[in-house]
Structures are given as structure tokens and as C-alpha cells.
């Protein structure tokens, strides 16, 4: 009897507390003119993607320091609330809710896991969100109204790379029908994300494109190579995975004596310095769809990063890698949205930051990315990139800017 009565009391009191307790009201965002601007960020410093996550995080933190050392945004310093989340979706949600409660006006995420888990929340809470996950649906404001993409989407990366491959293939005297592309991808939504758009492109031009999942934690891809390259007859391989597995695939191909028989390409998460380190000789000739310029190619946008590193860090730009500039410039775009909001004398709310980001037209990242344009219909910053190729152990530019948006517009005007 005792217990039952206790239980009834507990439940009644608890329900009462919830219904009459002080209801939550978000921290007022109409801050004084010198108050710091709070931005939330989660980093993968210890999780499965920490190898690149640490570099990206350092870039974001460095940019905040850089802005604060140069007078802040319209005179107001940035306060970055950040913590390692070790790629755990649960941690990401907890930190996000904590930071929103502390009054952040914008949020920097990291991977596909947290970006997708938070997509619904950020739309409801009106928090502009950027991350290093470049799935195409995130660029569609109808599906994801508060996500903004700084990097070219995986779909566009794949199509641009395939276009470039086809061009070179035809220049060598082959036809589109003879081209067969195996897209080796991470066995997750991140990996399969560009596949459908790549296949749609293939059907249009007559190139066969098919997906090959790369099992997680595999120590060799010999079986996949035998089935899909030797027996399947792929002429081209494109990898949508991180640098580690991509380097392993390259070494497996080399060991089997097949490296010279296929044209090999990487989308952005394996097209970096880590791939070259990991694959060594086998990386020679690999094509990369890089939305962010590698450190081996000089562009004006690296200047300011180089200077900052020289003064504040013991790393060179080459050591900090392109992921550092990727983090730096992603933060720079977010800060630009905040700056415009303040400069226009508007209240600093997520909705206003979003509206101001949507006015950005050909925002120049100093050549690190193709110029960025956001509209209320399209949150993909650009649909353009340059293709690079590994020559003598460094990434060198292999194509001019290939711009799908410009191509679409030409088609429309014709």
C-alpha cells in the first residue's frame, strides 16, 4: 500500500511541477552593443574522424581568435562555446541544447551523424548551421531551412569529377559507352549520398555508374577489387570515403598490379595530404574533386591563414593542411552572415542571420573555394570546383573551374 501511495504522489507532484513550473524562455538575443556574440561548435577531437576533425576544429578556433584580435564583429567579440563530442550523436545533441540555452546565435557542426540528427531541431530553433557534411539535401532550404553548405555537395563533386574523367577518356579516343565507373563508398548515408545523382548523370551521357560499398574496418579490399574491377570491368574508380580506406584501396590495387589499369578519383574526404602519405607511390595520378584548395596550390585566401599560423602556431600551413583552411573559411562565411546582420542594424537572431546569408552573392574566399552565393531557394554555396591531380606527391591543378550552376543556366538560356 505504502508503495502505491508513494507512486501516486510522485507522479501527481511531478506532473504539477511540469505544468506550473516556470516555462523556458530563450535567452534574450537583443544584446548590448559590446556584448560578446556566442557561437556554438562541436569538434571531433577523439572520435573516429579525429584525424581530420582536429585540424578542422583548429581552423575554426583560429579564425575566432583572428577576428577577436582584429576588433571582433562590428566591435563585438565572438565567444565560441565548443567541446569535443567524439562523434557521438548523443553528445552532439546534449551540447547543442546546452549551447542554445546559453544563447548561441549560430552553430558549427561536424559530421553527417550530428548534422542529420540536429537538422530538425535547428530548423525549429532557427539556428543557422554549417558543418563539414556536404550531402545535397542539406542545401535544399525546403528540407533543411537553416543548413548552409560551404563546400560543394558530394553529388556535384561526383558529377564534376565524372565529367572531367569522361573528357580525358574521350580525348584518348574512347567512347562514353566504354567507360564504366565503380563508385567505392563508405557503407553509410555519407557514402551513398552522391550515388543516385552520379548514376542519373551516367544515364544521360551513356556511362555506366555503379556503387560498391566498402565494409567498415576492412583490412583489405581485394575481394571488392576482384569482383568489381577485375570481373566487373570498371575502367574508373571514384572513392567517397575517408583517406584511410581510400589509401588502403590504392595500395591493394598496387599490390595486385592493377593500379595502372584504372583511373582513380577521390571526392573531398579522401582527396587530401593524408591520402598521399598513406598510399605513397600508388597515389600518383589520382584525381581529386576538391572544393577547398589544397596547400600545394597557392591562392590568396591562404595568405591570412599563413600569417596567423606564423604568429600563433608552430605549424606551417602545409602541416596544418587544407582541413585547417576548410575550418577557417567555413567560420569566415558564418561570421560574414553575422557581420551583415549587425551592419544592417538588425536584431541578432538566427532568422536574420539566415536572411543575410541568403543575400551573399559571389562571396570571395580568396580562391579557397569557388565564390559562394546563397539564395532563399538554394543553400548550396557553389556548384563549382577545380579538379586536382597528384603529381610527384603533391596535388596540382588539373582543370579550370568547372561550374555546374553556370552550365545549367546556359542550358536554360539556350
Amino acid at each position: 500500500m505504502m508503495k502505491k501511495r508513494f507512486l501516486v504522489i510522485v507522479i501527481t507532484v511531478a506532473i504539477l511541477l511540469v505544468s506550473v513550473g516556470p516555462s523556458y524562455s530563450p535567452v534574450s538575443l537583443t544584446a548590448q552593443s559590446d556584448e560578446p556574440i556566442k557561437i556554438g561548435a562541436i569538434f571531433d577531437l577523439t572520435g573516429p574522424t579525429s584525424d581530420v576533425g582536429q585540424l578542422y576544429a583548429a581552423g575554426i578556433v583560429a579564425y575566432v581568435d583572428y577576428v577577436n584580435a582584429n576588433g571582433g564583429i562590428e566591435g563585438r567579440p565572438i565567444e565560441l562555446l565548443s567541446q569535443d563530442y567524439a562523434y557521438s550523436v548523443e553528445n552532439a545533441e546534449n551540447l547543442y541544447i546546452e549551447y542554445v540555452n546559453e544563447g548561441v546565435v549560430a552553430f558549427q557542426g561536424w559530421g553527417t551523424g550530428d548534422t542529420e540528427a540536429l537538422r530538425g531541431r535547428i530548423a525549429e530553433d532557427e539556428i543557422p548551421f554549417m558543418s563539414a557534411s556536404y550531402s545535397a539535401p542539406l542545401g535544399d532550404p525546403e528540407e533543411a531551412p537553416y543548413n548552409f553548405l560551404v563546400g560543394t555537395t558530394y553529388s556535384d563533386q561526383l558529377v564534376i569529377l565524372l565529367q572531367f574523367m569522361l573528357e580525358e577518356w574521350e580525348a584518348e579516343g574512347f567512347t562514353a559507352e566504354e567507360m564504366k565507373v565503380a563508385v567505392f563508398h563508405n557503407d553509410s548515408p555519407f557514402g551513398t549520398s552522391p550515388l543516385a545523382d552520379g548514376q542519373a548523370w551516367g544515364e544521360e551521357v551513356g556511362v555506366e555508374v555503379y556503387g560498391v560499398p566498402m565494409p567498415r574496418g576492412a583490412s583489405s579490399f581485394d575481394a571488392e577489387i576482384t569482383t568489381h574491377i577485375v570481373e566487373g570491368g570498371a575502367t574508373h574508380v571514384v572513392v567517397q570515403n575517408t583517406s584511410g580506406p581510400a589509401a588502403l584501396l590504392l595500395r591493394n590495387l598496387e599490390d595486385l598490379g592493377l593500379r595502372d589499369f584504372v583511373v582513380f578519383g577521390c571526392l573531398n574526404w579522401c582527396a587530401d595530404e593524408i591520402l598521399i602519405e598513406g598510399a605513397g607511390e600508388a597515389a600518383e595520378g589520382v584525381l581529386g574533386a576538391l572544393p577547398f584548395a589544397p596547400t600545394s596550390v597557392e591562392v590568396p585566401g591562404q595568405e591570412v591563414v599563413r600569417e596567423w599560423l606564423a604568429e600563433n602556431d608552430d605549424r606551417t600551413l602545409e602541416e596544418a593542411s587544407l582541413h585547417f583552411t576548410q575550418g577557417w573559411w567555413t567560420m569566415a562565411v558564418m561570421v560574414e552572415g553575422i557581420r551583415l546582420t549587425l551592419a544592417n542594424g538588425q536584431e541578432l537572431t538566427g532568422a536574420n542571420i539566415r536572411a543575410n546569408l541568403e543575400t551573399l552573392e559571389n562571396f570571395d574566399t580568396g580562391g579557397i573555394t569557388a565564390p559562394l552565393t546563397y539564395t532563399s531557394e538554394d543553400h548550396r554555396g557553389n556548384r563549382a570546383l577545380r579538379v586536382y591531380r597528384v603529381e610527384d606527391g603533391v596535388w596540382v591543378q588539373a582543370s579550370d573551374l568547372i561550374d555546374l550552376r553556370a552550365e545549367d543556366m546556359e542550358e536554360m538560356s539556350e
Binding site: A14, A117, G120, P189
Partner: protein, 362 residues
């Protein structure tokens, strides 16, 4: 203080009491006060963490039924959580069920699923069974990545599952903010209390005793007339039911579900909880869940107060804190295994015994 030299019962009713001594009843009252005060005094961050502890406690109690009480090792916890979570979401989306019914059904679906993966336990024991349950983990993890209905949308891609709006007494549970966390707290705490009462009593019945007999010596249990296979499957189903409920709670606490929430790391984290808390103990499961979920937060707070006092720069903190957390986590597990293999629950029992017997420790 004069007390009896033992606990004596003068009626069957007294003998059946869960908490026979007055001290235990005082403790219960104290716990209830804490339970009631928490949602009022805690901030949104603290309450959010408390809520994850509540979910973890229910999941850990479920796992403990299987591992701690019945002695069947399972590495499929993440999978069972995923089945519970996705069932809840999909039942709500495709069949328009209200969330409490969807959660309950999700529990039964997970129970059936768990029973199926319990079948190998007829022939397999120990490490071999652990590997068989690993298959459940991999199959589910594959399923939620490739089955295209899993996101509740009519397209040919498996993406994240967007959860519908969940309301409880007029407050939305899966939104961002204090009132959401408070209403979720009420729901989860209510379910945890029911779980604790059910599971504690389960091990006062012939079913619970059969589970324990199988754990201690399955051949002896069979000789005594326990249908080992049946009770093993029942243990898998009962355990998975509660794990499924924990998964369902995870679902209604989220806006979007992704497969990355239910990886093998989650299975291992839950095993760590019940080992540190105490195998074969309901309260131990809760202690373990509290320990594993709160330790990183406490370390982070300590680090931040150091940084606030100017002892360490914020940059260094960000750099070293994750490593310190991992070291502390590993150390906690090793120290538990070395000094108190029976977990936090035993430490608590020893402390009680010390004061009860003082000054004569026999």
C-alpha cells in the same frame, strides 16, 4: 543506538516486503525527495544529462537481466536499442499511433527480436554467444543504413528518420528547452520507477530464480527441472523488452534518428555500465549508468573551473581534456575490476555494513 542483531519477520506479509528495515524506508523517502527536486533545481544542461541517465538506467537494467542475472553475454545492446527506437518512430509515422502505444509495442517488437537472436544461446555459451549477438548488431546496423523505408519517406534512399512531434500533457517532449526536458523527465522517471519495481519483483518469482539457476550452473538447473532453453529465450525477450523501451525513449527524446546512435560502441558502453555498477543488481545498473554518463561531465566541469581560475588555458583544456576523460574512463573500469569486481553496488553494501556493525566489524 540499539538495534536487533538481525531482521526478524513475524508475518508472511512482513517477509514479502521489499524494504524490511526502517533505514531502507528513510532512504527511499530521501531518494523520492531528490527525484522530485531535480527537475526544479537542475539547469537545462544538467537535466538533459539526467534524462540520458534515465534512459541508460532502463537500458542497463534490461541488459543486466540477461548478462548479470542469467549469465548470457550480449554485444547486441546497440541493435536492440535501435529496434526499439526505429519501431517507435515507424509505428507513429506509418500507423499514426499515439506515442505511448508505439513505445509499448516497440518494447514487444524488440522482445520478439531479442528472442530470435537468443536462439543460438541453446548451443553457444560465453564468448561464442557474444559473437553470435554481435551478428545482431551488424545486421541491424546494416538494415538501418540500407532499408529505404527506414526514414519513413517514400523514396529509394535510407536517410535519417524525422520523428513526429511528441506531446505530453500539452508540452512538447522533443523540442529544445527546459519545459521539454522537464516533461521528458516525468515520462522517463515514471517508466524507470515501474521498471525497477517490475524487475526487482521478477527475481522474487520462480522465473527469476530459474534465470539465476541457469547463470550459476545450467546443467544443475536442467537437472532440477528448469527448461533451460525456454528460460534462456525468456531472458532474452524480457531483457530486450526493457532495452526496447529504452530505445523508444531515445526516439521520443530526439527530432531525428540516425544509425550512428546505435553502434557497437554503445553496446560496449552498456556492458561497462553494468560491470562498474554491479552485475546481477537492479540498483547497480542505475549506479553504473549514473557513473558512465556523468563522469565525463564532472571531469569537464573540473577542467573548466581550472581554466576559469587561470590554471590552464582554454585551448590547452580543449586539447587535453578528451585524453584525460579517456584515461579516467579506462582507469575506472580497471580499478573496479581489480578492487571491487562486484561493482558500486557492493561498495554501497560494504559501507552500510560498516556502519551497521560498528564498532565490531563482524
Amino acid at each position: 543506538m540499539v538495534t536487533q542483531s538481525g531482521v526478524y519477520h513475524e508475518s508472511y506479509r512482513a517477509d514479502m516486503q521489499l524494504r524490511p528495515t526502517s533505514w531502507q524506508r528513510y532512504r527511499l523517502a530521501f531518494v523520492l525527495v531528490v527525484v522530485l527536486l531535480l527537475p526544479i533545481v537542475a539547469g537545462v544542461r544538467e537535466l538533459r544529462i539526467v534524462n540520458t541517465v534515465l534512459i541508460a538506467s532502463i537500458g542497463a537494467i534490461g541488459l543486466n537481466i540477461l548478462v548479470g542475472y542469467t549469465g548470457q553475454i550480449s554485444l547486441g545492446q546497440g541493435a536492440f536499442l535501435a529496434v526499439g527506437a526505429y519501431s517507435t518512430g515507424l509505428l507513429m509515422i506509418y500507423y499514426d499511433l499515439p506515442w505511448p502505444i508505439a513505445c509499448l509495442l516497440a518494447g514487444f517488437i524488440t522482445a520478439a527480436f531479442g528472442a530470435v537472436f537468443g536462439i543460438p544461446s541453446l548451443r553457444l555459451k560465453g564468448l561464442y554467444l557474444a559473437v553470435a549477438t554481435l551478428a545482431a548488431q551488424e545486421i541491424v546496423s546494416w538494415g538501418v543504413r540500407v532499408l529505404d523505408f527506414i526514414d519513413g519517406k517514400d523514396d529509394d534512399q535510407a536517410r535519417e528518420l524525422a520523428m513526429p512531434v511528441i506531446n505530453f500533457v500539452g508540452t512538447r517532449i522533443n523540442a529544445t528547452g527546459m519545459s521539454s526536458e522537464r516533461s521528458f523527465y516525468v515520462v522517463a522517471m515514471g517508466i524507470l520507477i515501474v521498471t525497477v519495481i517490475l524487475v526487482t519483483n521478477l527475481f522474487r518469482t520462480h522465473i527469476g530464480r530459474a534465470f539465476i539457476a541457469i547463470r550459476d550452473q545450467d546443467i544443475a538447473a536442467e537437472v532440477m527441472g528448469v527448461n533451460v532453453f525456454f528460460y534462456k529465450l525468456l531472458a532474452f525477450a524480457t531483457s530486450s523488452f526493457f532495452v526496447g523501451i529504452a530505445g523508444a525513449l531515445t526516439a521520443i527524446h530526439s527530432t531525428n534518428l540516425t544509425f550512428e546512435r546505435f553502434t557497437i560502441e554503445v553496446s560496449i558502453e552498456y556492458l561497462a555500465m553494468i560491470i562498474i555498477g554491479g552485475l546481477g543488481s537492479v540498483s547497480g545498473s542505475i549506479y553504473g549508468a549514473i557513473f558512465i554518463k556523468i563522469l565525463p561531465e564532472i571531469l569537464q566541469d573540473i577542467g573548466e573551473s581550472f581554466s576559469g581560475a587561470g590554471l590552464i588555458s582554454a585551448n590547452d583544456l580543449n586539447q587535453f581534456m578528451p585524453s584525460i576523460e579517456q584515461v579516467a574512463f579506462g582507469l575506472a573500469i580497471i580499478l573496479t575490476l581489480v578492487f571491487e569486481p562486484e561493482g558500486i553496488k557492493k561498495l554501497w553494501a560494504d559501507t552500510k555494513a560498516y556502519f551497521r556493525l560498528w564498532p565490531f566489524s563482524y
